[in-house]
């Protein structure tokens, strides 16, 4: 059937089963918006392109499907950059479609021209500049295929305006054939056998699993394998939910803000089974102290992840679910009671904890209450910093795709639009963005998107008036000099202020009034006794809600391992 290029793109989205697109129109992408407007595909207009790409990312993380976002050329495209990089670092499948100036104007510094292919090259899995309308069906098919297969990631399709109005024949291909792209799926059987030999002879085995387990939909297999063999499990931030947080074998998250039990296990194990994790510096700390006595088995879909940071004894490249299924077949309960009991004792003796206070709201208490009052069933998104770590520590994630957080890039401003994406995917589930007062202001304008689309997203702002993690580092490593981390700072403040104690100017903005200005509900909570009621009200409200918790201003995240130290050098606080 003959049709314009922009309509082909829309038809391709239909063929891919896309139910929602997040985007923002502009000059060169208008033909696309004109066609999608006439279709059943839901289009969510955000208030900034970065909101669109994070929402597509949140949708993808919550559902496991490909998220789609659209922006115009030039500034529209460059506004996607942070979101594309966020998705790339965390291996999230998204297809980003950008308008581009007409082909014969490319390179002429035309109005709203940016070389987005060049700009995004290091942060995409792949990208296409469409030069011929006839290529659109193949390119769209390939874009979705590449985004979702292998190690998933963002794919960008740059669509010049003349190509989107030119007409051509549309026939959506059934297969893709890309000679340079053939991800390995099934693991080498011999390597799997060797890995199982190591498992059988291990005295102190540990499973260290990451986001790859969630991507591979392998949580069930991981859980079955760990339980059958009785091997303790630690997860990375990205892995939270891949193994039940309430399971006795779960040691907690490892790394810079890992639990004592998890970090101790990582240092003392004699066999580390790494699954869908990439030995990130925030997880490993100083490499010489990370699993120094251990043989390492590494299961990963991406060969480039293997032996990148840590030399691996048995690499198994392939799909984590397939490989774990193979391993499960020959798994037997291991006689490692003393190791397990030792770790259980460490876990029992060193729980995640904080000093309770009946006068001031503790941020950890807020997260605990959200966990309790949602029965652990909520989808949690986070911003970045202290809020992210408290959300990781005090909510126990029993299921995958319930903790959505920018782990690799650490993007402040991610959580709220991601929550919008998750809520669009699951209108009936409770969604909380656990935010700091700094992060939330990076994408606060998406309140309009949430309110107008009647999305009952709850934003729990842990307001300490600081960029809390920056302030924590300044307290610990910069001699308590709170340089530019206080969000209330004015010219009238003392230059050397290192305490919020006396006479601080009023906080800006007033989040309650701000919520109301957007037509959302705003609730400020100043006393610990009111925390529970406010959370209940938010959960039951059909509106978008900002809960502003005025929390202890100088609360720190513990445990903590200083950057560059070994992960057994833990500061307990």
């Amino acid at each position: 059937m003959r049709m314009p290029g922009a309509k082909m793109v829309v038809e391709a989205l239909k063929h891919e089963g896309v139910e929602v697109v997040f985007g923002y129109p502009g000059g060169t992408i208008m033909p696309f918006f004109d066609f999608i407007h006439r279709e059943d595909i839901r289009m969510i207009l955000t208030r900034h392109e970065q909101g669109a790409v994070h929402a597509a990312d949140g949708y993808a993380r919550a559902t496991g499907r490909v998220g789609v976002c659209v922006a115009t050329s030039g500034p529209g495209a460059t506004n996607l950059v942070t979101g594309i990089a966020t998705a790339n670092m965390d291996s999230i499948p998204i297809v980003a479609i950008t308008g581009q100036v007409p082909v014969d104007m490319i390179g002429n510094d035309a109005f709203q021209e940016a070389d987005i292919i060049g700009i995004s090259r290091p942060i995409t899995k792949h990208s296409y500049l469409v030069r011929d309308v006839a290529d659109i069906p193949r390119i769209m098919k390939e874009a979705f295929h590449i985004a979702r297969t292998g190690r998933p990631g963002p794919v960008l399709v740059d669509l010049p305006k003349d190509v989107s109005v030119a007409t051509g024949d549309f026939r959506y291909p059934e297969h893709v054939d890309i000679r340079g792209y053939n991800p390995v799926v099934s693991g080498n059987p011999q390597a799997i056998e060797e890995a199982m030999d190591l498992v059988r002879s291990a005295k102190r085995p540990l499973i260290y699993a990451g986001g790859g387990v969630i991507t591979a939909e392998a949580s069930g297999e991981l859980t079955a394998f760990a339980r059958k063999a009785g091997i303790p499990v630690t997860l990375t931030l990205m892995g939270l939910g891949a193994f039940p947080g309430t399971d006795p074998l779960f040691l907690g998250m490892l790394g810079m803000h890992g639990t004592v039990a998890a970090n101790q296990a990582a240092c003392e194990c004699d066999l580390m089974i790494a699954i869908g994790a990439r030995f990130d510096d925030r997880a490993t700390g100083r490499l010489s102290q990370f699993a120094p006595k251990a043989k390492v088995v590494h299961i990963d879909i991406d060969p480039a992840s293997i032996s990148k940071n840590v030399v691996v004894d048995i690499p198994i490249v392939g799909d984590a679910r397939e490989i774990l299924r193979q391993m499960l077949k020959s798994a037997e309960p291991l006689p490692i009671d003393s190791w397990r009991e030792k770790l259980m004792a460490t876990k029992r003796d060193n729980p995640l904890t904080y000093r309770k206070d009946c006068a001031v709201i503790k941020p950890q208490y807020v997260v605990e209450k959200i966990y309790e009052l949602t029965g652990g069933e909520a989808i949690i998104t986070t911003e970045v910093g202290q809020n992210q770590m408290w959300a990781a520590h005090y909510f126990r994630y029993d299921r995958p795709r319930t903790f959505l957080s920018s782990g690799g890039l650490g993007t402040m401003g991610y959580g709220f639009p991601a929550a919008i994406g998750a809520q669009v995917a699951f209108p009936d589930r409770v969604v909380f963005d656990i935010a700091g007062d700094g992060s939330i202001q990076m994408k606060i304008q998406e309140l309009a998107t949430a309110v107008l689309n009647e999305l009952p997203v709850n934003i729990a702002i842990l307001n300490n008036g600081y960029l809390g993690m920056v302030r924590q580092w300044q307290e610990l490593f910069f001699d308590k000099t709170y340089a530019f981390s206080c969000l209330g700072q004015r010219p009238s403040c003392p230059r050397q202020c290192n305490s919020p104690a006396n006479g601080c100017p009023p906080y800006v903005p007033d989040f309650v009034k701000l919520a109301e200005a957007y037509g959302a509900m705003g609730i400020r909570v100043e006393r610990p006794d009111d925390v529970e009621g406010a959370i209940r009200e938010a959960i039951h409200s059909p509106k978008t809600v900002i809960l502003e918790f005025m929390v202890a201003r100088e609360e720190n995240v513990y445990p903590m391992v200083p950057a560059g130290a070994g992960i057994n050098e833990i500061m307990i606080g």
Partner: protein, 172 residues
Amino acid sequence: MDYILSVLVENHPGVLAQISGLISGRGFNIRSIAAGETEDPTITRITMVVAGDDRVIDQVKKQLGRLVDVIKITDLTEIPSVDRELALVKVSSAVSRRAEAFQIVDVFRAKVVDISHQSLTIEVTGITEKVDALIEMLKPFGIREIVRTGKISIARGNSLAGEGGGGQVYED
């Protein structure tokens, strides 16, 4: 040490930028890079010389392998191969010293391809060490400009660089 990688890529615009961006973005150290069409016009062959150790090269190969437009990577470092580089060297040459320059050119089986009152341009083809040696010998004349292609390599015997594997070794 130096490693020689022969990389087959889709002959698309931007692929070279993609590869050089990956190399620089990940902090790898490239000595030379040469690209040209192959017997199949849809495929470009990039020959690059990368400095590093085994672990670095392992990462270079794996990261290149992640690129969708990269079809095949062959490490020619350990495979018997014919390596060549071409250089054009422009040297100052007073008329009085020309004969001397021509002698050196002869010894290296190089060619004088351009001549003027003040300069000679010499073309040399060979392995990198030979090109380096000629340049060294020409230094006393005053080198004004050097243009080098970077190394290109092909596996010896029946095997193809795109397939890997060794071949018979012939004398250079």
